[in-house]
Amino acid sequence: MNSTPRALNRFLLALLGIVLFAAGALTAWAGASPAVARQWTRAGQDTLDRITGQLRAAPVPGTGSSWWTAAAFLLLLLLVGLLVAWIATQGGGRTGSLGAHEDAGRGTTTVDVSFAAQSIRDATAQNRQLRSTTVSAWKIRGAHALRISVQARKGASPADISSALEEVISGLDAVLGEQIPVLVRIAAGPRTRFAHRERVR
């Protein structure tokens, strides 16, 4: 329900995986074949020479270092910044409202999620199949969506719970005057998992 960039996650993980896999395969190959090991050493020496040449070609006046070193340092910081941004995009998207309506110049009406939460909790309070109900609002691709998370009692039929909640949702639709996307999560909470089923109903 959150706005984790899933495609980006998968793409970057796979990319990193390909790089690691290639490096690992090459290393193992160099261990298995002396010819590859020799070629590695030769190519490595060539690269070292070229890098040394490049570094000498652009010295920072008055110091022993090179502009290339400074560039490499900045590149590293840039990469760190991008990685931090990647981490920062995980999760998120929770909001406090179910959307806003503008009334032509007369102001804006915002429906707070606590309103929906209260009415849904009231409507499900008497339901013996449910242990608890949690309601939260999320912003998905610019649109608002509602998440109703319920903890089922052990042995409760998910079909019964689902139809009871569909009724609650249609009531909410009528009150809000529009249909916002809804996710209903029926979970077995930690308390349900170890509980005994009720023998008598």
Partner: protein
Amino acid sequence: MSANEPVARIARRELHPSRALASVLAASALIIAFLWAAAETVLAALGRRPLLASPRQIAHWAAAVPAGTTPAVLIAAGAALAVTGLVLILLGVLPGSRARHRLSGERAAVVVDDDVIAAALSRTAHQRARTAPEQVTATVGRRRIDLVIRPTSGVPVDEAGIREAVDAELARYGLDPPPRLFLRSRGQGAVGV
């Protein structure tokens, strides 16, 4: 399901893992490595002692790894790296799944833990079989559901009736794809449950 695209998308995202944890771990590892490299660069430029190794030392080491390492160590290290890479590739490519199912329904995306389905089917079965709850075990997987009944000693179980009752309950969920139901009653009876 295509009638309500946002709802279908929400359900889809609820059924598959987001790879957020793997992403954060991978990014953190890279951040540590890059920050270390940046610190070594600065220390080397200032002429200070390196933390672990200066960039020059690292470059010379990397250029001559095969010459300075025994082949067995190279192969082992390479295999470890490759396996790590393979795991990351698979994390990126495989859909992955959570122990959840989506119930039928257009208005809302209803996603249920497999635990809840198992408990409900197990209740249906033991009520139909007139056994104690403990005598029925249900296991719900992606494509199959296993129900094992341990009958009360001396009392035969009506397998066909139970199957019918459980199938009827399962049909109410409208799971897609419909899992196959495997019902077994163990020959050995239970006494004093």
